[in-house]
Amino acid sequence: MTTKNIVGVVIRIILSLVVGLLVAYPLFLYGRYFFIN
């Protein structure tokens, strides 16, 4: 595995985490109230 490949994998992991958090944030803020009584 070359250095270029490793950097590519790291960038993909970071991007996935950022997108995942951005998707989860509003869903969590709104969705949690349906489980609170």
């Binding site: 109230y33 609170i36 009584n37």
Partner: protein
Amino acid sequence: MKKIKWLLYIVAALFLLPVVLISCFLIYWDVRTPPSFEPDAVLNAETWSVTPSLDDIRTQHNSNTELIFFDGYFYLIHAQTKWHLQDINGALVVKRSRDAREWEEVARITVPETDVRDPKLALINGRLFLYFLPNDHFDPMPVTTYWTVSDDGITWETPREMDTMTVIYRSSDGTERYVTGGVWNMWRPKTYDGETWYVVASGKKPEFGARMEVTGHIEGDSVKEEGMMPLSVLFSSTDGIHWEEVSEVYSVFESFEATLEFLPDATAVSTLRVSSMGTAGYAFGNPTSCTLIATAKPPYEEWSYAPSFITRLDGATLFTIGDRMFAAGRNHMGPRFDMGNHMATKRTALFEVKGDRLVHLFDLPSNGDTAYTGVVVRGDDIFISYYTCPIDKDYPWVVGVCFLPKTEVRMARISASGLVTYADRIIAGDR
């Protein structure tokens, strides 16, 4: 195989990008700073927190305030829920105070398994009446009124439906039929002479004749019934329990949350929240959403109207200083083509109510989900209760509704004479 892979990417992006966009907006709205809300010195204004939003997520949303002075105390009542939308575990919290600064909780009013909101108080024949909405819609809709009464502001009767409201059904052939029942949503009762009480309530009557058709979703669509006409009606009562129709205030377009107040010459003034005058639009606003100012002279059977497009005065309270009429309610920051847009900033604000228009005076420290005021005038002091998202934020309305719905109840005190002076300056063009 490569095509399928790209197709999956596109489908995923179509679902994820809107959510990512909402997330980016939420972050931006959470970090941006509010304006200073520096009041003009002539107003001698100050505000303070009455019910802060605590960390318990089940009771973090304090809203829908109402204020009255009774038997030496200020009485404040407000809804307490998990968020703005339906919460069947919500309560109406009653607090009292000698000076409007130090408050003690004296009662909690609930209806089992029912969302309770929009409390309105009236002192009728020495008894403190409470009227409120038992909401059964996820996105709250005014469909009827519950009421209870107290002799001391502490002990309250079990709430029951206000089913003693008599309206007149007029058919196209001129015949009239008196019908007594419920399904009328009362706002705040007021009196001119201390003997007869008046209130404007929204509801429906059987529809006779043609009416203008509206296409597209507008606020209130979900409670429309075939053959029924939404309208606001003026009722009168001498006991606070039995109400009889005086006149139809407005029936051209659906209206809610009708305030009422009397000028010293007995002229009745009402402001009505009109969601649309025939154009479609709800979540992203409506170009004809407005405040309708309705006025009538005794015996309050003929009303004249003037629309104001600078705001849709939601959750408002009217009050008089001398012969001047003022309103504390929601400022939609108009005029704008998207009045009522859920993504827009809204404030609690003071307006002067002229016969033909509203004049915006100033905003109170507020943002996000805000307004639903109560007002008490004592001497030269005007006390205004309202609720708002944290005042160190500058959320749009929707954020305070269901994403970050921590809201506190605040009290504002301003000088009555200062308000008149300030209004004179604004009307003269000196802001």
